[in-house]
Amino acid sequence: MKFSLWQRLDAIARSMFPVTATLLLIMASMVPLRIPELAPIIPSLSLIAVYYWTIHRPDLMPIWAVFVIGVAQDLLSGSMLGVASIALLVVRHLVISQARFFTSASFVVIWSIFALVAFLAFFVMWILTSLLTATLVEHSSATFQYLMTLAVYPGFTWLFVHGQRLFLR
């Protein structure tokens, strides 16, 4: 079966949805919302996005895209380059290695696993930042950021599920 040029472009645009949405979310989380004390503990949306898409459409969240998302995150937030990439790569690797398990898991189970994976990701970021600055980085805002990320996970999953239905069918 032959596809026309437009059909092919359309398919490419649709298949780029997970990565594009993730990059847009990173940008959106940079906008100053002027809510007191929110900025340092703003949930890590890239973590949620990479976790979700690696479980549900790993073919549309390839490893190079995860790397690029991490670099974008670090560049935009002004944190140390490479830290987010490493954490996100670890997340993707963990999920991919247990892909069979996730196919039959319920939402609550996936959310619970996310709690573990996100904890590990934040721990990796904390360790790397501490090593690179040769100080024990204050961990309370990292802990709160982790809890915030965990709390907003269902909301963003809902968004992604609808995006997936809308763009990827």
Binding site: A72, I96, E138, S141
Partner: protein, 331 residues
């Protein structure tokens, strides 16, 4: 898409696993290379950072305006409720501030005369660049914000960033149209300061917590809760006497300072172009600084001001500044 996943499933499992693992190792190694390059503050990495900041600035500026509108609407609704009480409070404050202004003018005159008597060199000329905060602090491991002014507006690395209340941070990266401000609470921030009326020298060091720490003061120095902390101007990076905060906690080997700046309402920052040779800037920044007249990016009247704090600034602009803040509050 189904075609590709079909292909992937068709591959023999060991080969697929090997390909996956090697891709993981490759990108992991690449990330570590980035980590090292970024840590060594390679010029190339810095150029990429500023390019990305420049590229993202228009988008963020656009996204900031609806947020500002909504937040302003909420604030003005709330203000409408208590307009009478606020008016009375402001009238009283205005009277008090006018007295302060008179006192400041008198002191400034006196100061100038004494300087002339002493033949002290005049403080270098300062000018201000006002910029809107367009990018918030991105997470738990960094305390910095993005502002919508860059080299084309006269922003240069090392300049102090102020709110109406006091010092917020310094310019860490300058793009053409955006700059990143490292806040005084960031763990990479070190500011030479003077503490209390005795003006003892110390260094204010951030550690990502809301209250930065005072380091390197002489062992005999008495520091008390409530002591004011101002920039010392040592090192030539900042003008001297910019208010930063007050000492809130004094313990053995741990003195904490509460900055005056209200971190949750960072809306505009004033960047101080202080025309002295700066040790924190590189030669090419000096070239940028020389060009063009001061350019107001946004009206400076919009600065949220605590006039009492700004009236204590030592530069000659302080009085005018206090004036602007008064008229803003009296509206």
């Amino acid at each position: 898409m189904s075609k590709r996943s079909g292909n992937a499933l068709g591959l023999a499992t060991p080969i697929r696993a090997w390909a996956q693992r090697s891709a993981f190792v490759f990108f992991f190694a690449l990330a570590i290379v980035l980590l090292v390059l970024g840590r060594a503050s390679t010029p190339a990495v810095e150029r990429v950072r500023t390019a990305v900041n420049d590229a993202i600035a228009p988008v963020l500026e656009l996204a900031t305006s609806p947020v500002a509108t909504v937040s302003d609407a909420i604030v003005s609704g709330r203000e409408l409720m208590e307009v009478r009480a606020t008016n009375e409070a402001l009238r009283q404050e205005n009277e008090r501030l006018l007295q302060w202004r008179a006192a400041a003018q008198r002191l400034e005159d006196e100061n100038r005369m004494l300087r002339e008597l002493n033949e002290l060199t005049i403080e270098p000329r300062t000018r201000y660049i006002t910029a809107r905060v367009i990018g918030d602090q991105g997470g738990a491991f960094v305390r910095s914000v993005l502002v919508s002014a860059g080299a084309r507006d006269g922003v240069a690395k090392g300049q102090a960033a102020l709110t109406g209340r006091g010092l917020a941070g310094r310019v860490a990266e300058t793009g053409r149209r955006a700059a990143r401000i490292l806040l005084v609470t960031d763990m990479n921030s070190r500011v030479p300061v003077l503490v209390g009326n005795a003006r003892d020298r110390a260094v204010l060091a951030g550690d990502n917590s809301p209250n930065p720490e005072l380091l390197y003061f002489s062992p005999g120095v008495q520091i008390r809760v409530g002591d004011r902390v101002v920039t010392s101007g040592h090192g030539g990076a900042f003008p001297s006497g910019l208010p930063i905060g007050v000492v809130t906690d004094v313990r053995e080997n741990d003195v904490r300072v509460e900055p005056y700046v209200d971190w949750s309402h960072l809306e505009f920052l004033r960047l101080v172009d202080y025309e002295l040779p700066r040790i924190l800037s590189s030669p090419e920044d000096g070239l940028v600084k020389g060009g063009g007249l001061p350019r107001q990016v946004t009206p400076s009247a919009a600065i949220s001001g605590d006039a009492a704090a700004s009236a204590t600034g030592e530069s000659s602009g302080a009085v005018i500044q206090a004036d602007g803040a008064v008229s803003e509050q009296a509206q």
